[in-house]
Each structure stands twice: as C-alpha cells, then as structure tokens.
Symmetry: C2
Subunit: 298 residues, 2 copies
C-alpha cells in the first residue's frame, strides 16, 4: 500500500518548514535574457523553457515542499511542450519535490479514467493533479480510484481566485447555500470514503480554494475538515498572506499556498533586479515562505 | 475576417445531410485484430491507433460533417499520443471534416489564453473545442477571443450526459432556477457579443447539452436560442434519437448529435460482426445518421 498523498505532502511541509508551493508557468518571452535568442523556433523555445525550468526547480528544492507546473503553458508549445512537462515532473521528483500538476482535467467514466491514467498513473506523473468537479461524482471517482491505488492525490476546484468566479460559484440555492458550498460538501463526502484519509486525518482528495476570498475560505474550512486546501491567488493575483491564513486550521495546518509569477519571474521585479535570476528566485521564494509562515502562525 | 464557425458547421451539416458527429475515442484493446500485436509497447500502440484512426476518418468523411477526437485517450499514451492527436486533427481537416476537439479545458486569464493558443490558435488545431465554464467569464473570454480572431468555436459544458450530472448541475437557486440554467444564461450572454454571431444567426460559442436529459434540453433551447448544441449521450450512453430531437429547433437545426463507441467500434457489435471493420463503421455511421435525421425531421 503506497503512502497516503496527504500524509506525504504534510511531511514535506514539516520538513521544509513552510506550507508553500511554487507554480511553474513558463512563458518564453519572460525568461531571463540568457535563455532567449532572436528568431527562436518552437523546438528551441521548448528547450530553453525546459533548461530554465530545471534551473528554477534546483533553486526551489531546498526551500519549498512542492511545485505546481501549469500544463497550459507546456501544451501551448505542442507535443514537444507536453514532453517537456513530463520531463520536468520527473526531474522535480528526483529533487525530492512533491509535484502538483495543474491540469484541471474533467470528464466522465472511461474518459476520466484515461485522463487519470495519463496524468496520475503513468510513470513519470505528478503526485497530484487539479480536477474540475462540474461533472459530479462520475467525473471525480475515476481519479479517486487511481489516488487510492497509487498513493496519489487530487485537488478539486471549489472556489477559484479569479474576479468573475463569483458570477458562477456564488449562485445561491433555496436555503441560502451557495453553489461552491454545495460542491464543497460533495468533495468532503467523496474524500471521506474508505482508503482515502491518511494517518494525519487529511484525505488525498483536497480542494482548490482561492486566497482572494478569505471569508469563503473560513466557511469552506468548516465544510471540508478533512481536505487539504491548495490556495492560489497570493502575490500577482492580489491576495495577502493574511488572506491566505483563512484557509488554514487554527493550528496552522490543512493548506498549502501557491505563488507563481511573483517568484519564478522575480528577475523582472524592481526589488530583485540587481541580482542574477537564480538569486532573485531564491530570495523571492524565501520571502514568500516567510510571509506565509508568519501569517499562518504555525 | 475568417468565416464564422457556426456558419461553417451548419454548411457542412447541410452538405452531408445529417446533423451528426462521430467521436474518436481510441483504445488499443478495442481495435480490430489486424492493428494489435502481443506485447506491443507504447510507441507501437500509438502508431496502431493513429493508423486505425486515419482509416476511420476516411470511412467517415463522405457521411458526416464533423468528428470529435477525445483528447483523454491520446493523452493517456503520453506525448507521442498528443502528437498523434494533432496529426489526426490535421488529417481530418485535409479530408474536409470539421473537427471538434473534446478537451474540456478551463482556466483563467493568461493560463486560459495559453490553452486557447495550443488548442485553437495553433496550426494544426481543431475548428472548435469543448470548454468547462466553472470559472466564469474570466475563464471563457480568452477562448472567445481566439474564436473571434481565427473563425474558431467553443462548446461550453452546460448539461452533461452522465448519471450523476444532476447532483451538481441541478442545484436549485432561490427562484427555482437550476444551476445549469444559470450557466446557460451566461453562455447565451457571452455568445451574443459583437463579432461572434454568424449569418446563420448562430454564435461560435455553443453549448454541450446531453441527450440523456431531453426535458432539460427543451428548456435550454429557449434559454440559448443562438447556441449550437453539441449533444452527447446517443447510443452507448442510452439516449434515443427521439431524446436527441429535443435539442433541435422546430425547423430541425441548431444542434449536432455525437456518437462514439457505437460507431467506431461497430466491428465489436453483433449486428455488424459479419463485416470487415471498415464496412462495419460505414454501416453504423449511416444507420446513426439516418436515425437522427428521421427523428429531427429537418
């Protein structure tokens, strides 16, 4: 029986001393100068992105428990980009990092199983992926089956961090229940099934809960006591460390906060401009980790 | 200005005489014997799937206006599978077929733009893709921008065909409005923006509406008068041609019905077992097209 994903993630957070995750969202035009050449074709761009991303992972590994590669930026580069994504997943694993593949996949029955095969069961593949739960139990169950069998995890989208999330997710039901609360209750139910909850008391079925909505996060913490929250929205999307704290339990556990652009493109920020790009990423990572750790007060 | 996707799809339906689409969901273990060998490795499986899928497309091309390759089955085979998916998209285009990539992608802002780049703007890429709308306007708009610019289309998930869809999508609001009706109204609003509605009166922003729920389809036809409906659930999922008819307008337009397994794996069905696989696919395709055309009564 492989270790439970929630237990593994919490152990990694404990070891690194900070409940944080860094998103790898590679865009060629934002890479440091040394990785770019005029007129680079797609294959050269993919190679540059893979080389830079490997360097970023090396800088991150001593400081953070987890990384979150964003599949969209790799898919934008075609099949060669997808190959680079899986190469990086493998490299992150070799560096001892937990990998959360941000793929937001969703489908039903055997089609959802095919996604679970490619993104969670395959070797190499991430330790966990993000899943969109709009298709209900039939859409989530095939991913959960792989989680149980392989010691993997999923984070189901519950409350996203974007400005218009509310127009859909705040839809209010007959008794004042919001739609995202309804999804949260489904996630809590699905995630409490046999074989999913680890020794830590947390389930390998977690939830995505945006930091930009702290009041909602507090409410969701109560509906989903066994879910680890993956919390996007810190930094570039405007949420503060204090906003993020709402996703944690009073003892400072139960969540992991993600930052992407503000860390990996630190070389473009005024405060780090005097440093080389690796030093910039290292300092931005430590500053992010300290900011979150202080606010969570664990 | 490229032609509007809705106009192109309707012209193709008119030309082929049937509002039907065939899903390409390749699974190695279901291929005809001649494509399988004992102990085939991943690369051999991908090659076999690509060869068989090309053959299927050739059989389909004279009979149907559109095909819907399901990305999950290609992604399950890793980056080589993803390359095969795009090769098939290109080949379908060469055969004069409209291609709807079933990818159900979703994200926000620049990440959604990256998906739109890879799946709608790239060459080759499908004419349209499926999109999951749970993230709201911010999640849909980046795809719509590419549709407008490149003459492409999207189908946003509104009511899916699976048994547990209702547990999420039927969530009922304060005034008796169901959640899927709320999403439908958003899709109608987004799809009516300038530059999206073609000469046919239909928008390049369509909706996925499962055939297994005909009452809901009738209601959605009223909420989304400018949306083309992509209708899954016929055949293997249990919906009849009569159920599918609910998605169409009284004049027999406005929708396209998809069948996947019942057509592409016709060689496994008792009634077609005496035929070679290409003849089986051809006969199942014609039977499907006739069944739908008769019920729609266009």
């Amino acid at each position: 029986m492989p270790d439970n994903f929630a237990d593994r993630l919490l152990a990694a957070i404990e070891k690194k001393g900070a409940p944080v995750c860094v998103g790898i969202d590679p865009r060629y035009d934002r890479l440091p100068d040394e990785f770019r050449t005029d007129g680079a074709g797609n294959i050269q761009r993919v190679e540059a992105i893979e080389r830079w991303s490997r360097g970023v992972l090396e800088v991150l590994a001593p400081h953070v428990p987890a990384v979150k590669p964003q599949s969209a930026y790799f898919e934008a580069l075609g099949p060669a980009g997808v190959a680079a994504y899986f190469n990086l997943v493998h490299y992150a694993e070799q560096l001892g990092l937990i990998v959360i593949g941000d793929v937001k996949r969703n489908d039903i029955g055997s089609t959802a199983s095919a996604y679970a095969d490619g993104h969670l069961a395959a070797r190499p593949s991430p330790d966990a992926i993000t899943v969109n739960g709009y298709l209900g139990q039939d859409g989530i169950a095939p991913f959960v089956d792989v989680c149980r069998e392989k010691g993997k995890g999923i984070f189901v989208l519950v409350r996203t961090s974007n400005p218009s999330a509310g127009s859909i997710q705040d839809f209010t039901g007959a008794e004042g229940v919001k739609f995202y609360e309804h999804i949260a209750a489904e996630v809590a139910r699905i995630g409490s099934a046999e074989g999913l909850v680890g020794e830590s008391g947390y389930s390998c079925v977690g939830a995505v809960v945006g930091a930009t909505y702290p009041d909602e996060a507090r409410r969701l913490r109560q509906i989903m006591p066994q879910q680890l929250f993956l919390v996007p929205g810190y930094g570039a999307q405007g949420a503060t460390a204090k906003d993020c704290a709402a996703a944690f339990t009073p003892d400072g556990s139960g969540a992991i906060v993600n930052a992407s652009r503000s860390v990996i493109y630190a070389h473009l920020r005024d405060r780090y401009k005097h440093l080389d790009w690796k030093q910039a990423v290292a300092q931005a990572t430590q500053s992010f980790a300290q900011d979150i750790t202080r606010s969570v007060g664990a």
